[in-house]
């Protein structure tokens, strides 16, 4: 088992474990922190796949900006474990069973698909994930969407301000 594979398994385990911790933490703040761990693990996967640009953006946007926003909101509302509304146990069981069912179906679909046999993702190699090549593609072919996304941000900002403003 090469070092890469060891990293893959480690990161996968970490991601799944942290994701489950997000679910089962009573305190929302803990959930946020576990979610950040998930994002870090996913960024690790990106690095393994040699998608350095996305790994960095993921860290900055998700783990940095978005999760901080979550933390702000949670702290703003002064939420803690006691304030967390609890669902009926049966509903929880039903939810877990349903999620498990979906997983089973998805995994079985993946396993039964012949197209995916002997196909693999290339690790550690390739230059497409590098900032330079992505930048060239972005500013050559995706200039308009890129500019449109700035308008999206602007409108989101305006929307957030309008919604959050006190009447």
């Amino acid at each position: 088992m090469s070092i890469i594979e060891i990293f893959f398994w480690l990161l996968s385990g970490l991601a799944i474990f942290s994701a489950i911790m997000v679910l089962i933490s009573k305190n929302p703040v803990h959930s946020v922190l576990w979610l950040i761990v998930v994002f870090f693990a996913i960024s690790g996967h990106y690095i393994l796949l040699n998608a350095q640009f996305l790994a960095i953006v993921n860290l900055i946007v998700y783990a940095g900006a978005i999760m901080v926003l979550f933390l702000f909101v949670i702290m703003l509302m002064n939420l803690n474990a006691d304030a967390d509304p609890q669902k009926n146990v049966w509903l929880k069981v039903i939810g877990i069973v349903t999620g498990g069912l979906l997983l089973t179906v998805l995994v079985s679909a993946v396993r039964s698909s012949n197209d995916l046999v002997n196909r693999s993702a290339e690790l550690k190699t390739g230059s497409i994930g590098l900032i330079k090549s992505l930048g060239i593609t972005l500013f050559n072919e995706y200039t308009v969407p890129f500019e449109l996304s700035s308008i999206l941000f602007l409108s989101a900002m305006v929307g957030a301000v309008v919604i959050g403003k006190k009447e």
């Binding site: 669902k87 939810g95 349903t98 979906l102 089973t104 179906v105 679909a109 039964s112």
Partner: protein
């Protein structure tokens, strides 16, 4: 010739127009106008019928003329609305329109007390009745005949229940209709059978292709047709409606008994004579049923006290004779008897109506008597008809009945003796009726006596005409025994019964022997008539209930009660069971249950719409799972799941 051919449709057209005008404008027209339209339309038909008859007489049958295609499904299933005028139907046309016209004239006076709309309604029904009967007689195939067949059934229902405010009358009307329907079903099945086997219902095609039918087919078809005839022509076991049909106005009874309706069965069998001749078994059934009906009804008539009931049972009895004639192959005799019977029975009924009119609605002969001095014309005509129906020579009934009985004797002497016995019964109850009504002392109330009067012209005129016909009608068919080729009717109708005659054995008629028999029976009949006259001449009202056998006869052999117990009660019970159990808890349960289920399930389903986003997502995810399972390659998924678990 060609011109006359086109006039055929006029015969039923006039009554139809009369029906429409009287029916639609019943609130606008005056009584006089209604009477003129009603009677006039029949008179016009009668005129055309005479013209047609003369044409047929001189030139033979008029070729079948199709007015339009009635049913056109495919080239092999095509039924024309066609009329056929030949010797048989032209004769019937004359009887129907002729007697029908006289009854219409009579009705203008008899029904004069009705209010104008009802008066018009009455004439509209009457015209429709005649129209239906004409259609029945004129049709060139069984389907047209069936239209008329159903039409007379409907009209009899309408007219028997004419005074619809009386529940008993409605009951009688319903009874007539249902009894007829039972017979109609047989007729309809027979037509289906014919069509299935031959692919046609035209008379000419059917009779030309009888060799394509097996013996079983012919027997089955003729039996089913006969079932239809028993319903329409009131034979055992479906005869009970006819006596009850007395609920209608008296002229209607005359119309039903003489000109229309009951003769339909005879006409149909005479029309299909070849089929019947080919089916000896059916012929035997027809003869036996006819004979049984003749005796049975005659025995009931002996003990009836209602003037119209006696006549009704005598009609049933006479129809029995006609069927006996058909059954023994004497089709001419049957048709002959239809004609003579139409004359004297119409006369009797109209005479009875005249009496009832004079008696202010009283129908019980025990309360009459001695009417002859008040109503001479009615009395004379009634007497002539009585003599005619009793079969005393040289009046009409003698000849026609004799022809039938002579033919019956050829087939089976037993039939002959029973038939003569029935004729004796006929003579007895008819003279009992006559004597109790017109002879002796008046037994009614003083008021009634004061009121007695001879009927007006419109009533007596048809009586006189019919009495003349009843007296002289027999001359149309003088037996061979008296003079060679004197039987005009026989030779006139020969083309119709040609096929049957050829198939039948030719029997040498023993002329002298026959005359002796005739003379003997005539003497006996006269003796019985006189006996009846003497017996009831000084009849005094006694309120004693009849006992023993007479009681059974007075109660009509309890046939109505038996039918009630055997058919009506079980059907009612079954219907009650269906209504109370199957309908209420079964059908209603299902219907209401579906409603309740929908209500309940929708109330439960409504709970799913909790408004909680979580539950919606849950369903969404579950649906995705289900969609995956359905649309992905299920086998592989199942295999995988089996591996996992």
């Amino acid at each position: 010739m060609g011109q006359m051919n086109n006039l055929v449709y006029l015969v039923p057209l006039f009554p139809l127009l009369g029906f429409l005008v009287n029916g639609l404008f019943r609130n606008q027209l005056s009584k006089g106008l209604i009477g003129i339209i009603g009677s006039g339309s029949i008179l016009l038909s009668f005129g055309v019928s005479i013209a047609l008859f003369l044409q047929v007489k001189s030139g033979g049958a008029i070729p079948v003329h199709s007015l339009f295609t009635f049913i056109d499904v495919s080239p092999t299933f095509k039924i024309d609305f066609a009329f056929q005028v030949d010797q048989l139907s032209s004769l019937f046309l004359l009887v129907i329109t002729g007697v029908g016209f006289l009854i219409h004239v009579y009705s203008t006076s008899y029904m004069h007390d009705e209010e104008v709309p009802h008066f018009a309604r009455y004439f509209a029904y009457l015209n429709l009745f005649v129209f239906s009967m004409l259609l029945l007689v004129l049709g060139a195939n069984y389907v047209i005949m069936f239209i008329g067949w159903e039409g007379v059934g409907l009209c009899s229902y309408l007219l028997i229940g004419f005074w619809f405010k009386n529940d008993n009358y409605n009951y009688a009307a319903k009874k007539a209709f249902i009894m007829n329907r039972i017979g109609d079903l047989g007729f309809l099945l027979a037509v289906f059978w014919l069509f299935e086997k031959l692919g046609t219902v035209n008379y000419s095609d059917v009779f030309a292709n009888t060799n394509k039918l097996t013996q079983a087919d012919i027997t089955g078809i003729t039996l089913l047709l006969f079932v239809g005839a028993t319903g329409k022509s009131a034979q055992i076991p479906l005869y009970t409606w006819l006596p009850d049909a007395m609920a209608g106005p008296t002229p209607v009874s005359a119309l039903i008994h003489a000109a229309t309706m009951v003769t339909a069965g005879i006409y149909m069998i005479a029309r299909s004579n070849i089929l019947y001749t080919l089916a000896p078994f059916t012929q035997a059934v027809v003869a036996i049923i006819g004979l049984a009906t003749a005796i049975f009804a005659a025995s009931i008539a002996l003990q009836q006290n209602d003037i119209k009931k006696v006549l009704a049972y005598s009609t049933v009895s006479q129809l029995g004779y006609m069927f006996l004639g058909l059954g023994v192959g004497s089709y001419t005799g049957a048709v002959f008897h239809v004609m003579t019977h139409a004359f004297f029975k119409a006369c009797l009924f109209l005479g009875a109506g005249s009496v009832i009119h004079a008696m202010s609605g009283e129908q019980d002969i025990r309360k009459m008597g001695g009417l002859s001095k008040y109503m001479p014309i009615t009395r004379i005509t009634f007497l002539i008809s009585c003599i005619a129906i009793a079969g005393i020579p040289p009046f009409a009934g003698f000849f026609s009945k004799d022809q039938i009985l002579a033919a019956a004797k050829e087939v089976n002497p037993f039939f002959y003796y029973i038939g003569v016995g029935g004729a004796l019964l006929t003579a007895f109850y008819m003279f009992r009726l006559y004597t109790m009504t017109f002879v002796g002392k008046f037994r009614g109330t003083h008021d009634q006596e004061h009121h007695l009067h001879e009927s007006p012209m419109a009533i007596t005129f048809p009586l006189i005409v019919l009495a003349i016909l009843a007296a002289a009608g027999g001359l149309l068919g003088i037996p061979e025994a008296f003079a060679k080729n004197a039987n005009w009717l026989e030779s006139f109708l020969a083309p119709i019964f040609d096929g049957s005659t050829k198939l039948q054995k030719v029997h040498p008629s023993e002329g002298s022997n026959e005359i002796v028999l005739m003379a003997v029976t005539s003497v006996i009949i006269i003796a019985v008539s006189v006996w009846a006259y003497v017996k009831f001449k000084d009849y005094q009202t006694n309120e004693e209930e009849p006992t023993g056998f007479a009681r059974i006869l007075a109660n009509k052999w309890y046939v109505d009660e038996i039918y009630d117990a055997v058919f009506v009660k079980p059907i009612n019970a079954f219907a009650g069971f269906l209504k109370n159990v199957v309908e209420k808890s079964g059908i209603d349960g299902i219907v209401n249950g579906v409603g309740r289920l929908v209500q309940y399930s929708s109330r439960q389903m409504r709970l799913l719409q909790s408004g909680m986003v979580g539950s919606y997502i849950l369903f969404m995810v579950l649906s995705i799972v289900v969609l995956f399972l359905i649309f992905w390659n299920q086998i592989q998924i199942v295999e995988f799941l089996q591996k996992v678990f």
